[in-house]
Point group: D2
Chain length 423, copies 4
């Protein structure tokens, strides 16, 4: 039995511990009651996220690979499977709030149980076997990071339904005054671009199938569209003029009586928005957030511009490589204004996911992995739109220029925003 | 400031304290997460019940009558109003699970705050004023007792939706073997009966409007219908033979795929039922429980009998005055078998509410009280059926022979059962 | 083959022919397309009514009793059964508009086929057998009369959904100016009244089970409530003040945005109503029509009065026996104003069905007939309210003081109105 | 006033008359009742199609361009507008069956009125003006051809809901025995293909924005997938094995209990399908038809192949230019088997629309036309999938290799089929 782990596995263990701890840090401010409700089917109870991410390691690593491992609880496999048909039956997605038991403290114990056995696995397994496990272990970590982002967006939604509009946390630092950054359009030359992931390190299967795509000359906006710009659209009657809208988008607007982004509330004749720090006045220089694809597209039409395709976005990121951004590590959990002093491309990474006018379809040659892992991405490749670039709820180590996020075009509870293209 | 209270007000204070404490005793075994969910609109979160009953005293007694009283929280009036339009706007009934905050511990503090001020009111108010408050105070206590029963039925439903089927509490004593009690029909002579409440003490407004009703000769079953008898109906194809059913009942059966009472589960070819003590095998001598009116009526038709009207039930209770019964004080929270040695009427009080074939309509001369209290009963007098006699979840001090409970005919989550009449 | 029929059977044959012809007279102004649509599940396509009434005679008389009778079409039994489970499977109620075929002309041929064979049956069957058939034959005729009324109400609804608001027929004579009749309340002495049908001739099973009911002294309004009176309620904010309404009624008002009776339309700031003669200005002296029970009850509460029970209505009809009224034979198909010169009771018969505050329940001793006929009434005895007195769409020969019509309390498309009681 | 029309306008007039007459020929076998119902929202009443296509010419040509033209009826603009917000309000899409009036004969008169005035316009307008009108006139004709196809698919659906399963027409000639054609995969070389319409003549705006697309080497099946092949998938448990399905597709399968293509019915243990000629036994050599995208995709996955993208389909049509096919002119209205003797590509044109794995999005540089015509295509460019090649319900003169048809992926009532690609 190995007692010495190599630097690489040691590094992985440290990463495992960091990422797992991060989930618990996110959930620390929650009341037990916050962790069980499911106000809409899109939102999962935080307790469920905490358990499901542990279930992933238990199911795909500990049970098959740690000799003598006993599942923490014989029914958790049923309770905390998300959508893996291969793994068996499960609680229906819209029934997750039935899980008032196990109580939150049991889920913390479950997490500790899984973590202790994962450490044991690192201690115990021969280097060779550990190395073979690295891909699925890495997938588990990436998976947990995805659920960290969902935890944040779901917590925000849960708190927003409460008539008390409680803040999740105070701002880490007092809010500073912001300034307007002029909108400019930067050129991206047309040509053949290589699309998809080619480097080392982790990527999801949906980024594979690297292929060349012909892109024509276009221009890309230097920053995200701001609240102030979007308010002009609203004040110009944008929500009531069908000409800007896709037909299904306009039907949604009328049916749901949409008239502003999600979380916007008019108080004393001033627009406020519910944020993770409570209700705040809308800052006109910050990027507009929590929009459906339909709203992003309608805004672009109104502005005489258009959204980018995901291929154009990836080409632009090759021409203007993004550096860092406002990610979850800032602990702000809300987008920030662009820098008026900067001259180049801004906000490609972080702040807000950018809706593209590309359906989430398989790249050429896409193949699903065998077994349950094959259900991770492929079966969702219809009726959803690709978003790029990560948000203020995304872990920085989780993003890549080739990363393809995807949501149905009517979804507003994610940190989504708008970037425009000019032909 | 008065320090001497009269025996009567002292007695009322003691009663207040007892009833209030009882609510907290009921909720003691709950996890915080159990207290916030709302799996169906009929069920309210236990935390909401705990707060709403306190809101009743705060709104109708403390705020108007205790000098200098400050509401515990300025928003609680909005959060915990149930259906009193007169008192202002409120959280929509189907949105009560949004109240993850205030957390459970705050609700306990709220209860203590209200209780302390109620005690202060008893100390402080002149005897004359206290006496004038007694009717609404009594209404508040009766109201809290009604919510105690709802707490129990709602907790049972909440736990039943959990795949783990957790017990609420262990049985207070090991279950004893039961014996069958022969069914017999006891005569009730026809004639003019006085219906409605006439004595001293409390009654609800829906019991007033005492009036005479002509009842014809009939016979009434000596006990409730048992699980064993109901199983015969099931085994005879009762759920699939339209001839036994009201048309809307049969539509419900087909639509919801009903084939047994609520909480019945077949395991290893044996019928079990989810009880407050976990999953148990069905005891054939115990009364059948958690049925809709439609099922009760279909069973009666199959058996060649019928249900009683509420007037017949009240006449029978005059002829065979009920003594005591299996009420919430037994702490069993489930119905018990009849006594095979007894020769007379059994189970009129307690065990299960008995569906009658009477619509919940106003008695002649019914008038609503002025103001918010007038919304207590009158506005629900349509499309619901009257039930009589109380259940194992009812406080014994809460019941009367003239008491009219009422539910829509499709409701199954209450402790409802069947008693037959013979023409 | 008998060539001599007795006067009684001859009379029945003549009555059969009259009633059958009447159905076709009603439908004569319809386009084929009018006869197939089903805009709401309550409304059946006129073609279906025409076929279903013929199916009744074919199924319950011709097939079992006319030797050698061949069904007109082997599939019609499936197509045109309404709700008789005993007779076999059938087109689902909400799927009746799928029957674009058989075309209307085939249904006329079907009717002729059934009529010719019914005449043959009258010629051919021995007197004794005919006499035995009279009860079910009479039921068939009463059934056809009920469908004649439904034909009229369903045609009105169908035409009302058409944006062209087409008139069904012109008025038989130009509309005359009307005058207001003062509202007065007539006394009905309390006491024991015999309720239910006792005389000779036909009645439905739901009128049987004659029994005595104790009624207290009350007063009854001398006519129906008028459009003018109801408009006062509307103008006083009646639809937005919860205090007048049953809880479910107020929910309906808010959900369906009710603000006036069905078919009322405001044009050029004046209330109009869609009538069988097209859109007409509301006549303030005519009875208000096409209301739900909830609206009738809310109006009564607002007016400080109440609705009658069905027992009070029947008692009043014993004290003030109704003579004739505005029935379908007037061919007006809309209600008419009361006579200001009359001093006694008016409009008890005809004009509009009067909502009572009585649930449609079985009378004591009610028993269902054996076989399919037993499904006629009994299985609907829940959640519906009794209406009394007939309407301008009812055949005069179809009504009795003991006649119990019934609809769910939210239904507005029947010719329903309001009569008040005073305590 | 011109009395001489040029050959080109004369030719256009003849084409106008031919296409308009064709619509009436399609509807000739219908009963009036067939022309008014709307069993699902996707299906429009045939009468509505007949009127709406006339409304198009009246609205966009006669009213603005024929001096002195009076609209046939002042309300038809409201009744028969489909989705043009620019033209004003309209009957809601799901309310088209309310139009029992105007009766069918009025719609024929409306068509004659429009046709007579269109002829007058051809006679009367100066050549110059006529030439300027040609684009919108051509659009009107293409539009009418699209509705001819919808008429056929909607009539099929309407008749299929009728329990009598009536045939629309007899087969034009007795059905011949068929033979199996071996499946082969033909190569399409990778490279840059020019996508979109470039030639002369008409195309829709969604075909414009010609652009180059990089396509990799692939192989394309030589014919459509047959009923026999699809039955193997069914018999292999295809509908119950989640691994073949997109997640939303499998949810649809379970929710709607799908187990075969639309219109398939098992009788006496043999699969039949409802066709325009009545119920027929499934011919195993004919192409499988009336499938959703989900079923097409699941079949492809099961077969170890995939669907083509729309770009691959258009590339293949450049490599293997389609000639003719089974179009509406054959009057068969059902697909036909491939020719076993043929060696090359078959069925690219006609028979069935082929689902592609391409979302219906705008081509680069797509711009909407100004005014109402701009609502023709652009606003539907989301959540729908592209289909290529035309069907047995498509007029032959209506199709092109660049033609982009589009439907939501769950739609089954169109003549849709499957063609496979091999990587």
């Amino acid at each position: 039995m190995s007692t010495l782990t190599t630097p690489r596995t040691h590094q992985t263990l440290t990463r495992y511990q960091d990422i797992r701890r991060r989930t618990e840090t996110i959930c620390a401010p929650l009341e037990p009651e916050d962790t069980v409700v499911q106000p809409i089917v899109d939102v999962s109870p935080p307790k469920w996220h905490m358990a499901h991410t542990s279930w992933f390691f238990e199911t795909f690593i500990l049970s098959p690979h740690l000799p003598g491992y006993q599942a923490f609880h014989p029914r958790y496999s049923f309770l905390f499977n998300s959508y893996y048909n291969s793994v068996g039956s499960r609680v229906q997605r819209d029934q997750r709030s039935t899980l008032t038991r196990p109580p939150l403290r049991d889920i913390y114990t479950y997490r500790q149980h899984v973590d202790a056995h994962m450490e044991q696995l690192f201690q115990q397994l021969p280097e060779q076997e550990l190395t073979e496990l690295l891909p699925v272990l890495e997938l588990g970590l990436q998976h947990e990071q995805q659920h960290q982002e969902l935890l944040i967006t779901d917590i925000k939604y849960i708190l927003s339904t409460n008539p008390l509009l409680p803040a999740f946390k105070p701002r880490p630092a007092p809010k500073q005054a912001t300034e307007k950054t002029a909108a400019r359009f930067l050129e991206v030359p047309g040509g053949t671009y290589k699309i998809g992931f080619t480097g080392e390190g982790f990527c999801f299967d949906n980024e594979l199938g690297v292929h060349e795509v012909l892109v024509e000359d276009f221009e890309i906006m230097n920053r995200l569209v701001t609240n102030g710009e979007y308010l002009e659209f609203m004040q110009d009657g944008g929500y009531s003029d069908f000409r800007h809208w896709l037909d299904e988008g306009f039907a949604l607007v009328k049916n749901d009586h949409l008239e502003a982004p999600l979380y916007w509330v008019k108080q004393d004749n001033t627009w406020h928005r519910f944020t993770m720090h409570g209700l705040e006045e809308v800052d006109m220089n910050e990027p507009v957030c929590h929009l459906s694809f339909y709203e992003a597209d309608a805004y672009a039409n109104w502005a005489g511009k258009r959204l980018l395709t995901e291929f154009e976005w990836e080409a632009a990121a090759q021409v203007y490589p993004p550096q860092s951004g406002n990610f979850v590590e800032s602990e702000l959990l809300e987008p920030t204004a662009a820098d008026p002093a900067a001259t180049g491309m801004q906000q490609l990474y972080g702040n807000l996911w950018e809706w593209t006018y590309s359906a989430y379809h398989p790249y050429p040659g896409f193949t699903k992995a065998p077994g349950a892992i094959g259900e991770y991405n492929g079966k969702f490749m219809l009726n959803q739109m690709v978003l790029r670039g990560g948000s203020c709820a995304t872990p920085e180590s989780h993003i890549r220029t080739t990363y393809r996020n995807f949501f149905h075009p009517d979804k507003r509870w994610q940190y989504n925003g708008i970037r425009l293209a000019n032909k």
